[in-house]
């Protein structure tokens, strides 16, 4: 849009100072100027999303809206990070952009969710630009108590009305990085809203929670709004399609669950005050298991760095150390086991696929979608390693599987008399059944802790007609 920062900022600063002296608020002309400049760069994002229950693999669909901020003339949009979560995937995204002849409704797709800031980038599909957009100033520092102006969408409604709001910087956190917390919760339509300081600079956007890699809500606590300064996300605006390898958090995996070595725990175990982090669980088949890590080990050094975790959120530092360490070459560690120092090396591997990236197979014949059982799903389902199979993610209404009372969450262990340990086995078993065309097909599965059979009655005559 051409936010004329220099000219406007100077005027706005003067106006603001003058107004503050009288009422502590921004001058109306300043506010109006900010609104006129930023509002054309805002849009309303409507979307459907699919939520996956990690324990069953069952999915449900719903719809939602979000405030979008256009950040480039060719249609890059920034929205709140909660639009994409581990278990929640948006689809059917539509962006309503106000125009002289009403809203233009344009399709968009998710470009990325950066690992180090809790925002999501969308891209408008097709050649519809150029668009008005908001550009940001390079992360000027804010002061405690400083007033800021927000520009959002009133109530996130379909009326697509832009609106203004005021907040103050209510707290400044220094860990895990400098973070400005606002003094009051945000109404609908202001999450992801551009934040303007008294100097007329667009300093960032509002949001909730740090990125998961930074600790999610551990530092700021859920429900407390914060400002993502523009220097956190500007590089993604400049190069939205940069390679994921550039992700600063790394992707290495050790395969342990940890808990902080609290002062009480250190006292109980009579450990030295230097501290460490407690290994509470080890994932079967992980690098940690291979290296001989044991429950109760207290890791004091990892990859040459001293580890100290006294509170829950400190555990994240250790996670970051692991993720940033290399895969392949052995990584040195030092730990305390029953009070004795143990040193060793562990070969890290890339983080295993999660259920979100799991391979799927849509079985159109029997009417169900099946998915591989990833490590995270195995943990969520509390499935022992010796149980192999694939999990039913969805069944098609009225399909053969549904008529046989098969439902999402069933773990398929056998199909048509053939053992199933992975999706490839399942595909082969279906192929075999299609050749044999039996009147009844037995699916052997597991539901919770119980195994049993489901009898599927294929309607081969219908199948042939189709």
């Amino acid at each position: 849009m051409g936010w004329n920062r220099l000219a406007f900022a100077a005027a706005a600063t003067l106006a603001c100072v003058a107004a503050s002296a009288q009422s502590g608020a921004f001058a109306q002309s300043f506010v109006r100027g900010v609104y006129d400049d930023l509002a054309p760069g805002l849009c309303l994002v409507s979307y459907n999303y699919e939520v996956t229950n990690p324990a069953t693999g069952q999915t449900a669909r719903n719809s939602s809206h979000a405030l979008g901020v256009l950040v480039s003339s060719d249609g890059l949009i920034m929205v709140r990070g909660h639009m994409v979560l581990d278990h929640m995937t948006p689809f059917n995204i539509r962006v309503a952009i106000p125009g002289e002849n009403g809203d233009a409704l344009l399709p968009a797709q998710v470009v990325r969710k950066p690992p180090d800031v809790n925002v999501v980038f969308l891209e408008i599909q097709g050649d519809h630009g150029p668009f008005s957009y908001v550009s940001f100033d390079g992360g000027p520092e804010l002061q405690l108590g400083e007033s800021v102006l927000l520009v959002g969408k009133l109530g996130e409604t379909l009326d697509n009305v832009s609106a203004i709001g005021f907040r103050r910087v209510g707290a400044i956190l220094e860990q895990p990085r400098r973070t400005y917390a606002l003094d009051d919760p945000l109404p609908l339509g202001y999450v992801g809203a551009p934040v303007v300081n008294g100097a007329g600079q667009v300093v960032g956007v509002t949001g909730y929670d740090l990125s998961l890699g930074e600790g999610g809500d551990l530092h700021v606590r859920s429900g407390h709004p914060i400002i993502y300064q523009s220097n956190l996300f500007q590089r993604y605006i400049d190069d939205p399609h940069s390679e994921p390898e550039d992700d600063p958090l790394g992707d290495s995996w050790l395969g342990v669950f940890t808990q902080p070595l609290t002062d009480n725990l250190a006292e109980y175990w009579d450990l030295p005050p230097e501290g460490g982090i407690v290994i509470s669980s080890i994932v079967d088949g992980s690098p940690a298991a291979a290296a001989g890590f044991q429950r109760g080990d207290v890791v004091t050094h990892f990859n040459g760095v001293a580890v100290r975790a006294r509170q829950d959120r400190d555990v994240l530092g250790f996670t970051g150390l692991i993720r940033a360490a290399p895969t392949g070459p052995p990584v040195p560690y030092r730990l305390l086991r029953n009070g004795e120092v143990v040193e060793g090396e562990v070969t890290l591997v890339a983080r295993p696929r999660t259920h979100l990236d799991a391979e799927q197979f849509e079985d159109a014949v029997f009417g169900m979608t099946l998915r591989e059982i990833t490590t995270d799903l195995r943990l969520a389902l509390n499935l022992p390693q010796d149980i192999q199979g694939v999990i039913v993610q969805n069944v098609r209404p009225g399909g053969w599987a549904q008529l046989a009372q098969i439902r999402p969450g069933v773990i398929v262990i056998g199909f048509g008399g053939h053992p199933v340990t992975n999706l490839s086995d399942y595909r082969d078993a279906v192929e075999q059944v299609l050749e044999e065309r039996p009147a009844e097909v037995a699916l052997f599965g597991r539901v919770g802790q119980v195994t049993g059979f489901f009898r599927i009655e294929p309607r081969w005559d219908q199948y042939d007609e189709q």
Binding site: Y268, Q449, T451
Partner: protein, 476 residues
């Protein structure tokens, strides 16, 4: 599906009853069978008011509930539901003639939801019901449901048998592996639980126990034939002894619709069970048990087969014949005693949580190779356990690096730690698939509010146990 218990105020219902009380029936000819049947059972009807021990939010609480029952012998044995009289500190009964007396709980059986009480009489003979039979019931037979719906004692409702052998799948902790159910349209409400379902000969043919929440005129009674067996065992031994071999049985239609195929499908074999040790595999077809043929084409046929196995004397070796890959094979299985469905639950007030015994079923769900430890059933907000991060559902496997084998171990360790007052107590707990350490800081105990002091107990709304509340979704 919900269990029947009394809920809500009876005042409104009583007001309505007063308006109707002026037109008592005198018994026109068509009513005679109903009146006769009612008259035979009514003197033995019992209004039951147990005070149940309930564990909620990490505390033990006492809650009064209301149910029904009936006297089955002149010396005062009373039959009711386990979900009425189970976990009761004491039970107050009101007889038909308005006399009130306490009753002792003789025994309860969760698997059939039957309990037996003994009225504390002064030696006088009491009126008692005549037990009928439930094997040959037919849909359409007229029946009467008698009891205390919504606490309204001495109530009679009339209906017919809708289905004499309804199969009800397990619903949460509500399970009935050994019986089908009599479905009736006679009005049954909460408070009818444990009351008799009566035929027109004035014989008790069932024990009312369940309804479907939100449905009209769909109630269920435990068939009297199975109730009688359980009652006899409870009076004789205080419990029902059953065998367990560790198989999940499925009806033959789960594998094939071929009516010529006999037997029962083995759907699953429990780890470390007698069946697994004997070499039984999922997919085997069970043909005989101890020389007797077993067959279950439909799910209604399964309870009889399960009962056939359960009726074997625990610990005895039996031969089962299986069909595997077209060949018949015989295996010898040494049965084990079936464990209780629910273990002991206790409150550990100083640490601010409640724990339940780990039953074999809980151990299976938790992927424990064998029952051990204790299951945290509730954590009191603000208590030492809550502050230390202990959570509902955790299984405590060790204290101070000593294994906790069972509830008795845990009680002893608890008493010891309280007595010694050691400041820090380390739990090793299993939470789903993960293990973690939980450190209880006993020094925080002294300054903590006494149990029950920090907030009000839940409203006395009458009265469903947490398990029953969990079953409100109804049977579909």
């Amino acid at each position: 599906m919900r269990g029947l218990c009394f809920v809500g105020s009876v005042l409104g219902a009583l007001a309505g009853a007063l308006l109707l009380s002026g037109c008592a029936a005198t018994g026109i000819p068509g009513d005679q069978p109903v009146l006769r049947a009612k008259d035979q059972v009514m003197p033995a009807l019992v209004h039951i008011q147990p005070v149940q021990e309930v564990f909620a939010q990490g505390r033990r609480e006492q809650r009064p509930i209301v149910g029904s029952g009936f006297i089955i012998s002149p010396e005062g044995y009373v039959v009711t539901n386990e979900h009425v009289a189970g976990r009761s500190g004491y039970v107050r009964c009101v007889l038909y003639d308005r006399r009130e007396m306490d009753a002792e709980v003789i025994g309860t059986d969760r698997y059939t939801d039957i309990a037996v009480l003994k009225l504390q009489t002064e030696g006088e003979a009491l009126p008692y019901v005549r037990m009928g039979e439930s094997a040959a019931l037919q849909a359409g037979q007229t029946v009467l449901a008698m009891g205390s719906p919504l606490g309204l004692s001495r109530s009679v409702s009339r209906g017919i048998i809708s289905v004499p052998d309804r199969h009800i799948p397990d619903h949460g902790t509500m399970t009935s592996p050994y019986n089908n159910w009599i479905q009736t349209d006679a009005a049954i409400n909460q408070g009818n639980s444990g009351g008799p379902l009566v035929n027109l000969r004035g014989e008790v043919i069932g024990v009312n126990a369940r309804i479907i929440g939100g449905a009209d005129n769909i109630g269920f009674a435990i068939p009297i034939d199975i109730a009688k067996e359980v009652v006899d065992a409870l009076i004789a031994d205080g419990h029902v002894s059953r065998s367990w071999i560790g198989v999940t049985l499925q009806e033959m239609r789960r594998r094939t619709d071929d009516p010529g195929q006999r037997g029962v499908v083995i759907g699953g074999v429990d780890p470390m069970s007698p069946a697994q040790e004997a070499g039984v595999l999922p997919g085997d077809i069970l043909l005989t048990v101890d020389g007797q043929a077993v067959d279950a084409r439909f799910e209604e046929d399964l309870p009889a087969v399960r009962k056939r196995i359960a009726d074997i004397t625990p610990g005895s070796a039996v031969t089962i014949q299986l069909l595997r890959g077209g060949a018949e094979i015989d295996l010898e299985v040494e049965t084990m005693a079936l464990a209780d469905l629910r273990g002991v639950e206790l409150a550990f007030a100083e640490w601010g949580f409640t724990a339940a015994e780990v039953t074999p079923e809980i151990a299976r769900r938790a992927q424990l190779p064998a029952p051990r430890g204790v299951l945290v059933s509730g954590v009191q907000p603000g208590g030492p356990a809550a502050n230390s991060g202990l959570q509902h559902g955790d299984i405590v496997l060790e204290i101070d690096e000593e294994p906790v084998e069972n509830m008795r171990d845990f009680e002893e360790m608890y008493a010891d730690r309280i007595e010694t007052g050691q400041r820090l107590v380390l739990f090793d707990v299993k939470s789903g698939p993960l293990m973690r350490y939980v450190l209880i800081d006993q020094s925080a105990v002294a300054g903590a509010p006494q149990p029950g002091m920090e907030d009000l107990p839940p409203e006395e709304n009458g009265l469903m146990s947490p398990e029953l509340n969990g079953g409100l979704d109804g049977l579909e």
